[in-house]
């Protein structure tokens, strides 16, 4: 599976990272190298092997439905790039 710089742009767009043409070219050569490394996996026959997501075979612990959090808006918004009247401001969201 080889990549081209249009692929890089498509992926970068999915990841919301701006890349210009020069960056896309530079990234392409690095990513191609990394994908070459990854490609080794394809030689392994993994038929019937259960994928491993977690290292411990344990299941989800559940939390009681009790309110534990208090309002800390002021503290949390003190590190926000842009707020007004308690709302986080962003360029207009278009539906």
């Amino acid at each position: 599976m080889s990549l081209n710089s249009a692929d890089i742009k498509r992926i970068a767009h999915l990841a919301r990272i701006e890349v210009n043409d020069t960056e896309a070219e530079a990234t392409l050569s690095k990513l191609t190298g990394i994908l070459g490394l990854i490609e080794q996996m394809q030689a392994v026959d993994t038929t019937g092997i259960v994928p491993m997501s977690h290292s411990q075979d344990v299941t989800q612990r559940l939390r009681e439905d009790v309110v534990t959090e208090t309002n800390q808006r002021e503290l949390f918004q003190s590190i926000a790039p842009s707020v007004e009247e308690g709302l986080y401001l962003v360029p207009k969201v278009i539906e």
């Binding site: 599976m1 990549l3 692929d7 890089i8 992926i11 970068a12 767009h13 999915l14 990841a15 919301r16 990272i17 701006e18 890349v19 990234t27 690095k30 990513l31 190298g33 990394i34 994908l35 070459g36 490394l37 990854i38 490609e39 080794q40 996996m41 394809q42 392994v44 993994t46 092997i49 259960v50 994928p51 491993m52 997501s53 977690h54 290292s55 411990q56 344990v58 989800q60 612990r61 939390r63 800390q72 503290l75 949390f76 003190s78 590190i79 926000a80 790039p81 842009s82 986080y88 962003v90 360029p91 207009k92 969201v93 278009i94």
Partner: protein
């Protein structure tokens, strides 16, 4: 004094030979003097630090001290600490002031330890050389022209240069053990789930674990007693009974079965490193350990598997850095899309962006099965290798890294070469096992510098006490761990 262990300094504090404020001030003075070059600490807050030292002195006077009360500890800047700038080595969080405390920060606070400052790291813990930090490279105190390893390179350099008595690190693919190896200290990554990940900025959630970086195994045991324990805020935290990791330190090693994986001594391992590791193994034989040849056949595959799983998880974990609620937002942007793309392009460094792109790619439509699912399947094979190995031995030994510290800039532009640094450490994370690196000697560099070499000890799940026992016995018989780099006096 600077070379004293946590254990020794703790005794001095308890015996009122010194106060925590004096001790802390001493380390702060050293930081003032040495850190501008070494760049191990990226955030200091002397007022907060000294206030904590004062509080520790009060705890000690009131007879409420614990083993760590009053001891200054460097905290990797991956841990969110309330009121402290927490950057994760990234421009993205250059001005981020922690609004809450990570579990590990709370635990050290409760023990009465002093937060000496936040240590430098590869950006978002992605790197093996500490060269990806937005806040600059870190020097290896043993040879200032070399890297300290990564990603916990700031913590490693800080302990090596005796800027702190001990520090914390995190290890996703070797980020505690490899810098410990390159800087001549002891570092331990616990069994996945023993240390809470709450407040530790996520890189690859299924692999990340925090752990101690210190001068000795005895000190690490004291820190493990603080770091580990159930946390209901982390769903992957294991609800087990608290352990005392110092309990087995002095057990004799006679009869200990040590597995030597042939894959860890094969092509790719530097001859200088191999020699030191073999000498350490000879020492273990003298201590009564029995060597067993084992095989971990899927070792080679751990790198591709890791470089699928870790970037995949990271690409998603790092999506929250969008410039909306905190973190970097581009100064100029057009619409919403532009704000996202510019803020993230500016806020993340090159290596982080590369890994986000790789991760995005392997998860994208049409590639998931070939990459992500396949990697998870091979991950199971890798875990099974260890399961089989531990039927033949109690612990596993080998090198931590294939080489000693390399020159700054040497592999910076070659990610694949950099990734190979992790060949002996990654499988441990994939399997969720505990792994540790301890100083085992030195290899001379071409220019006559002594470069530390680490011995890696891998244990079965929850076998940290046994690993620390093995490390401590070795450190009783050798003095590699007490040696200091030149030029840090």
């Amino acid at each position: 004094m600077i070379n004293k262990s946590l254990k020794q300094l703790g005794a001095m504090l308890q015996g009122k030979e010194i106060s925590s404020v004096e001790l802390t001030q001493e380390f702060l003075n050293r930081i003032d003097r040495l850190n501008p070059a070494i760049n191990a600490f990226i955030t200091l807050d002397k007022d907060r630090t000294l206030a904590q030292a004062k509080r520790a002195d009060e705890m000690l006077s009131a007879g409420k001290g614990t083993a760590l009360t009053g001891l200054p500890i460097g905290q990797k800047d991956i841990f969110v600490a309330k009121g402290w700038r927490t950057t994760c080595g990234s421009k993205m969080l250059e001005t981020f002031i922690g609004p809450y405390d990570a579990d590990i920060i709370e635990r050290f606070d409760a023990s009465g330890a002093v937060n000496l400052g936040k240590t430098n790291m590869d950006e978002f813990a992605m790197g093996s050389s500490n060269e990806t930090s937005y806040f600059g490279k870190v020097q290896n105190p043993w040879d200032r022209s070399r890297v300290p390893g990564g990603s916990s390179g700031g913590s490693a350099a800080a302990v090596a240069a005796r800027l702190c008595a001990a520090a914390t690190g995190t290890d996703t693919g070797g980020s505690i053990r490899q810098p410990a190896s390159l800087c001549g200290l002891s570092g331990l990554k616990p069994t996945y789930g023993l240390a809470s990940r709450f407040g530790m900025i996520a890189f690859a959630s299924s692999l990340d674990q925090s752990g101690p970086m210190a001068k000795s195994c005895e000190d690490m045991a004291l820190m493990m007693n603080v770091i580990t324990g159930f946390d209901k805020r982390d769903s992957t935290s294991l609800n087990r009974e608290k352990e005392d990791y110092t309990r087995d330190l002095n057990k004799p090693l006679a009869g200990l079965k040590v597995g030597l994986p042939k894959e860890y001594f094969a092509e790719g391992l530097g001859a200088d490193v191999a020699k030191v590791v073999q000498e350490a193994i000879a020492e273990y034989k003298k201590l009564g350990a029995e060597m067993v040849d084992i095989s971990l056949p899927n070792t080679q595959l751990s790198i591709p598997v890791y470089y699928v799983l870790a970037p995949a998880e990271a690409s998603s974990n790092l999506s929250r850095f969008d410039g909306v609620r905190y973190g970097h937002r581009a100064k100029e942007y057009g619409d919403l899309m532009d704000m996202y793309c510019k803020s993230r392009a500016e806020g993340f460094g090159a290596e982080v962006k590369r890994r986000i792109l790789i991760g995005t790619y392997v998860l994208s439509a049409g590639y998931y099965d070939a990459y992500y699912l396949k990697a998870q399947q091979i991950r199971r094979l890798i875990a099974q290798d260890f399961e089989n190995a531990f039927k033949q031995c109690d612990i596993i030994m080998g090198p931590t890294a294939p080489s000693t510290a390399f020159k700054t800039g040497e592999t910076a532009d070659d990610p694949v070469a950099m990734y190979l640094q992790d060949i002996y450490t990654i499988a441990v994370n994939l399997a969720g096992l505990p792994g540790m690196s301890i100083p085992a000697g030195f290899a001379p560099s071409e220019d006559g510098k002594r470069l530390p070499v680490g011995l890696q000890i891998i244990g079965n799940y929850f076998d940290e006490a046994r690993m620390l026992n093995a490390g401590h016995a070795y450190q009783q018989a050798t003095d590699w761990h007490t040696q200091m780099p030149e030029g840090i006096e």
